[in-house]
Symmetry: C2
Subunit: 222 residues, 2 copies
């Protein structure tokens, strides 16, 4: 579980391994390191301009997060999310995101809701500007923010990992179902803002279900 806390005290030294991990994740999600690609430690070390040790440590975490598969004596390869993987991930998301929405609805402060609506507004602008990349970022930001509001670090950590993988898959298929999904997001934020946990949970479930269907559709075409 990652706390994502900015380390309250003076330690803003951000270790090299964390930078490597972030770069690695980004490289994989963005497609720079396509599925099946071999990731040798030396190569990564050279790519990032560091020694092998930080790379090794980052790879272990990346493995724990499901981004790479490490074969003993063979090295690491970028994981290959299959249609089955997508199905599995959404099966879990369908259970966790409604929970997150419920908890968020029960705990959200007015400030939280304001913050969520701000993201929604930015997303509307980005959508009008056809900036799909930005829309995707805001999509993530919204969900991550809801997870944070839920107040359950375990839930947040797990769902975040799942979410990153979903992003990855969407990036791979180069499809974004953003256009109409924001209607659902607006309903979701409204539900959270109302403080009605039951309603928020229902809306979230519908939302994930729609996303799941869309994902499977694109995956099926891929």
């Amino acid at each position: 579980m990652d706390t994502d806390q900015p380390a309250k005290i003076g330690a803003q030294h951000l270790p090299l391994r964390d930078q490597v991990l972030a770069a690695l994740r980004k490289g994989i999600i963005s497609g720079d390191y396509p599925p099946g690609e071999r990731l040798t430690e030396d190569r990564l070390a050279e790519d990032f301009g560091v020694s092998r040790n930080p790379v090794r440590e980052a790879l272990r975490v990346a493995e724990a997060e499901g981004f790479v598969v490490i074969l003993p004596r063979r090295g690491a390869v970028v994981a290959s999310p299959s249609s089955a993987t997508i199905h599995d991930i959404f099966a879990v998301r369908e259970r966790l995101e409604p929970l997150a929405a419920r908890l968020a609805a029960e705990r959200a402060t007015p400030g939280d809701v304001t913050s969520l609506r701000a993201v929604l507004e930015q997303a509307r602008l980005a959508t009008e500007a056809q900036d799909l990349r930005r829309v995707g970022e805001l999509n993530s930001a919204l969900h991550l923010q809801i997870l944070g509001i839920s107040g359950n670090p375990w839930l947040a950590s797990i769902a975040k990992a799942l979410y990153l993988h979903v992003q990855w898959v969407f990036q791979m298929t180069a499809k974004v179902r953003a256009p109409h999904s924001w209607d659902e997001h607006i309903k979701l934020v409204d539900a959270i803002g109302s403080g009605d946990g039951e309603l928020a949970e229902t809306v979230a479930l519908e939302h994930v279900g729609a996303a799941s269907a869309a994902a499977h559709e694109t995956a099926g075409r891929a």
Copy 2:
């Protein structure tokens, strides 16, 4: 995500870092390394008779799993599961284990069910023999086996991590509610064996709910 596969081909070399990780987890769960204890790399390296590198890599994974907290330039300390942590974990388990039970019911082969019943039988014997430690192990084995049968590696990996923490907490409070929980387990296996996903899910939810209540009770007393 760990696949838990015994590596089908000749690679049974089980890396040192994995052994260290297992020993570390065990040490933490068993209470040998109590919450808040500082875990310096040198100390662990000496404890396990290895160099610092395997220890470091194991610590990163342990951090990702939530067993330790790593402060930059300060080192690792054993995490301190609070009452809130227990609450958070069970909130997630309540969503995931019913899902696992449903999937297991839908996918279980007769062989799977036989295997589950074998665990149940062993647990009955261990309970009669008052071997609480063994009962705890079988408890874990049963749940892990159900997760495996579910056929969803993501679900299995996540739930496994949650389960380890629950074990940890139970170990800390030195309480086991084993006695009557096995009645629930029998019902759960029956439901899975029947192939009725809906029923299995319901039974699992009740089971986790009861476990959650018991956990909170002991945690409250602690």
